[in-house]
Amino acid sequence: MFFNEEFETLPRPALEALQLKRLKSVLDKVYANVPFYKNSFAAAGITPADISRLSDLQKLPFTTKQNMRDSYPYSLFAAPMEEIVRIHASSGTTGKPTVVGYTQNDIAIWSELMARSFVAAGAHKGDIIHNAYGYGLFTGGLGAHYGAERLGASVIPISGGNTKRQIMIMQDFGSTVLTCTPSYSLFMAEEAYAEGIDIKSLKLRVGIFGAEPWSEEMRNEIESKLNLTAIDIYGLSEIMGPGVAIECIEAKRGLHIWEDHFIPEIINPETGERLPEGERGELVITTITKQGIPLIRYRTRDITSITYEPCICGRTHARITRMSGRSDDMLIIRGVNVFPSQIEAVLVGIEGVEPHYLLIVDRQGTLDTLTVQVEVSEHLFSDEIKVLQALSRRIEKEIKDMLGVTCTAKLVEPKTIQRSEGKATRVIDNRKR
């Protein structure tokens, strides 16, 4: 099944011709309207006129998250503010978020790509889509919502949290499609079990899970515990939001990236060189139809590989494999992006706390947990238990306030956190199996 059969099955020569046409057009636009691109192209000694084939894309410089931060909030926008109808943001490392703006046309394309993704996952008009992605600055909630409406399904904009109510609504409203993070789906299954509700007997048929890394083992667990087909979805706010790429229910082998709107490349994150098909490296995406904030060769930091082999579903768009990690130190904890440097910034802001810390990420039952170990220095030490406990609570609260992630602060003896020569070990991620 397709949402837009013509474009989803476009023969590759036609697809590539369309990509080149759109690439040239977006390059002209950013060169004319965004000083950052004019300058970075000039520094590389290149103009849009030098791009005559798709492979010429490699000549262009990369765009990084740091570039976006430096352009905070609107300097990378290519459309005037009068044409921007929506603003989203994702967390950044310095407390300042990364800001993206959408024109009416961008929202329409995003809705279509998300609708295509729903159909690829096996959803259709008539489905009741239980959208438990967070609504707000985060793109997950609204992105899936607009796609569900575009598809013509009935969407329940339940957002995250209040799990008991989620389960009641799922049961009473007859939800057939669930959209949330993979770990939250398992948490729901546990909560339902505790409430004496057999979640397997509900009408859920398909789950579309993303916004955090997960494994094939976790897919099996979700499918057996919730009695549905679990589909992996990929997206990032810088590029658009959810719906950049999705698995098809026919193959469940790799995520189709919508190539009529995005050009993917895989590079060696150390050298920046493009890697051949099948080799694992960092995903780089160029948006070729976006108006609000087009990005040229954006380094996603996500590690994957790409294949152009035909898929049994009939889509001609390339597939990327499940994300296997990050080329930077970003952690995704319960769907929240966390950089260790953000936690460090919170800790050094608390008087007496030294930047000797260790983050331990674990998955207890089905939920990610974060423990922040902090060394107790003499400045910090109090002879009274209640003072030290208040300190732990303060660290927990400030991290929650700044990053939106719940953690447990654990005070440890000084010099117990490993000091290594060179790169300090700041993170132990026990979720990796």
């Binding site: 003499e378 910090l380 238990i385 003896e413």
Partner: protein, 143 residues
Amino acid sequence: MKVEQISIFIENKSGRLAEITRILGESGINIRALSLADTSDFGILRLIVNDGKSAAAVLKEQGFTVSMTEVVAVEVPDRPGGLSAILQTLDRELINVEYMYAFVERCGGNAVIIFRFDETDKAIAALNKENFNMLEGSRLYNM
């Protein structure tokens, strides 16, 4: 009237107390009294020793977090209501006891209790006024 106590931060993991007592023993330091306060994650070991400054120094050298705290050692008559009379005096003066623990040795016929107050000087004055006996540090360290 004030007595010097050393407080040590310890994680709740096996062998930490043994390690501290080993270090002190090897440095010829004698423990006169101790109390251990603990939570699920960490504890605070409070010690009165014959030489607080040296004890603090050797423990810091071994990487422990140590602080010195002033406490008061009060003689408590060994009869019903003995402790209660002291606590009532403090209560009248609105002085809080942060924590307290018993000293191992007796002093004559009396027990000795170590107190940590929120306002140490005010507590000493209040107890003096009511003629409760407090022990000098020098006497306690060598008892």
